[in-house]
Amino acid sequence: MAAGDARKHEKAIDISGLDYAFGEHEARKQVLYDIELAVAPGEFAIMTGPSGSGKTTLLSLVGALRRPQQGRIVCVGSDLMRLQGVELEAYRTGLGFIFQLHNLFPALTAFQSVQMAADLRDDLPGDKMERIASLLTELGLGERLHYRPSKLSGGQRQRVAIARALVHRPALVLADEPTAALDSQNTEIVLGLFRRLARENGTTVLMVTQDARVFERADRLVNLVDGRIDSDSRR
């Protein structure tokens, strides 16, 4: 199982010789070339780079939403080249996805949205309802637990989506520009949550951002340019 304490694996993300191309034949367009990337459990890695360089694509490969044509990709103990069916579902349950768009159900309140993610896991310690409420409160939504997306601002929706991704204490958080819609105060809160999850749970965070202000908060800074890793620095 990918879930639970992520520290039991030597590497949270272990990628080597990874190529990825969209389309086939004449339409084939390679966007990732020979990626080598190893991220340790509990590490907070930021991936940056110009638009169109392949950051989102790499994130979706790590999230097992796509399958690479070439290379090795093993994350929190699962070989993503082989993952299928129930194991694939289980792998995804062990992740926390934060998409560029929040993708919240208009019919569900903030609380219910987060509960959808929490319901996937029966092995969470403590009271589930309390955990959901306190996480949302921590994200400044304590007053809006039972609001639907239509009654929330863009930043509030994004924070609901973040709570949904974190509530089950995933082994690996994959976040695509999660703070783009947030002010600096809320950005701080979210980064603080990432850090705490890393410390308490060994959660690994791979976060795409263009926001230079948050670079200094990361353990790792990976720069992707034209589908290749241009620089990779530990801080």
Binding site: L65, A90, L95, L101, L104, P106, L108, M116, D176
Partner: protein
């Protein structure tokens, strides 16, 4: 494994969130079910009305010409068969019945309408209705008749008094309850003598013929044995069937052998198809509008099955909440029709169950069709 337990609640939340759409969807399902319900009701009316005369006869076994089918078709049989049947061991009594069709004159507006004329022997048990048996003695007086109190309003005044049937004046001396059918607007009962007086202008009417013989068995008689004995002793131009056998044979005839019944079945099938299309439209739009959210569910680890269950539960909710108003409206419409036409166009519990099952099947089918879209959902497009 993602838990499937919460799928129905999730599905209800999706439905309730958009009340306007929910009402429109329920309305669509109701409409389709109403189409089916009315067809079923009409079909019941056809079957029940075509059988009501036969059902009300007081007989264990009925002997008739072998060509007579269904029971309401008029085919004469030699009167001798009545006496032959009467002599069979186990037969306690045998009563003749005559059947004809004449025109009833509406005295209020002068129009004429078809009426069934049933001739009987006032001294033999013929009908089960106590109303008939209480008044049957009156028919011994020639030129008198009992009339169906449930006759259609096209007859004008229906009750005691003088009336004109065919070219003959008769006196109505009482009423009994029966009901109309697709052939006639009502029925009168008369004695043998009056019957021949009324029908003397019709061809083929002769005292040598009766329509059927109604047999009652003795208390110890074995119906099977009597039927076998009748089959053995009667000439081959006649057949003997128990009343129940004849009812079943007639039911079969009206169900599958008549164009109108087939048309009504096609109507049910059409209602079903319309229902599937409506439901599909509803659920497909529902799925389409939530495509990215469903993809998100898949991305965070929910199975296809979870989404399938959610959509199918939505379909079931629609099918049940569409069923209830359809039942209420359909029942009211058929009841109104029954009162206006005298046709027994009712709905039984078995019909309600059938329609409910059809409704659930219809919506489930539509849900499964709408779900094809979810199966090809690619959560990768979300990032």
């Amino acid at each position: 494994m993602a838990s499937l337990r919460t799928a129905p609640i999730f599905s209800l939340r999706l439905l309730i969130h958009e009340p306007a759409r929910l009402w429109a969807s329920i309305g669509g399902v109701t409409f389709a079910l109403l189409l089916m319900l009315l067809q079923v009701g009409f079909r019941n009316a056809l079957l029940d009305s075509a059988l009501q005369l036969l059902r009300s006869l007081d007989a264990d076994i009925i002997v008739m010409d072998k060509e007579k089918k269904p029971f309401l078709a008029r085919v004469g049989m030699a009167k001798e068969r009545l006496y032959q049947a009467q002599s069979i061991v186990g037969v306690e009594s045998a009563a003749p019945l005559w059947l004809s069709m004449l025109q009833w004159k509406n005295m209020e507006d002068g129009t004429v309408h078809p009426i069934r004329v049933v001739g009987l022997d006032p001294d033999s048990p013929t009908f089960l209705q106590s109303e008939v048996n209480a008044l049957i003695g009156l028919l011994r007086q020639p030129g008198t008749a009992l009339i169906d109190s449930r006759s259609r309003s096209s007859y004008g005044y229906v009750g005691r008094g003088m009336a004109q049937v065919g070219r003959t004046e008769i006196e109505i001396v009482g009423t009994f309850p029966l009901g109309t059918d697709f052939e006639v607007d009502g029925t009168i009962l008369v004695s043998e003598e009056t019957y021949f007086k009324l029908t003397k202008y019709q061809r083929f009417q002769t005292h040598k013929l009766i329509e059927v013989a109604l047999l009652k068995l003795g208390p110890d008689a074995d119906e099977e044995a009597v039927l076998a004995s009748l089959a053995h002793h009667l000439p081959t131009d006649a057949v003997a069937l128990s009343k129940q056998q004849l009812i079943e044979r007639d039911l079969e005839h009206w169900k599958s052998g008549t164009p109108i019944s087939v048309i009504l079945m096609v109507g049910v099938a059409l209602g079903f198809a319309v229902g599937v299309v409506i439901c599909y439209q509803i659920l497909y739009t529902e799925v389409l509008d939530h495509l990215t959210e469903f993809a998100t569910l898949k991305a965070i680890g929910y199975s296809d099955r979870y989404i399938q269950i959610a959509v199918v539960v939505e379909a079931w909710v629609l099918s049940i909440f569409g069923f209830l108003p359809a039942m209420a409206i359909g029942w009211t419409m058929l009841e109104t029709l029954r009162q206006l036409s005298g046709l027994p166009a009712g709905l039984g519990v078995d019909d309600a169950v059938t329609i409910l099952i059809l409704s659930i099947t219809m919506c489930t089918l539509a849900g499964i069709l709408a779900l094809r879209k979810v199966r090809v959902l690619d959560p990768a497009e979300l990032f």
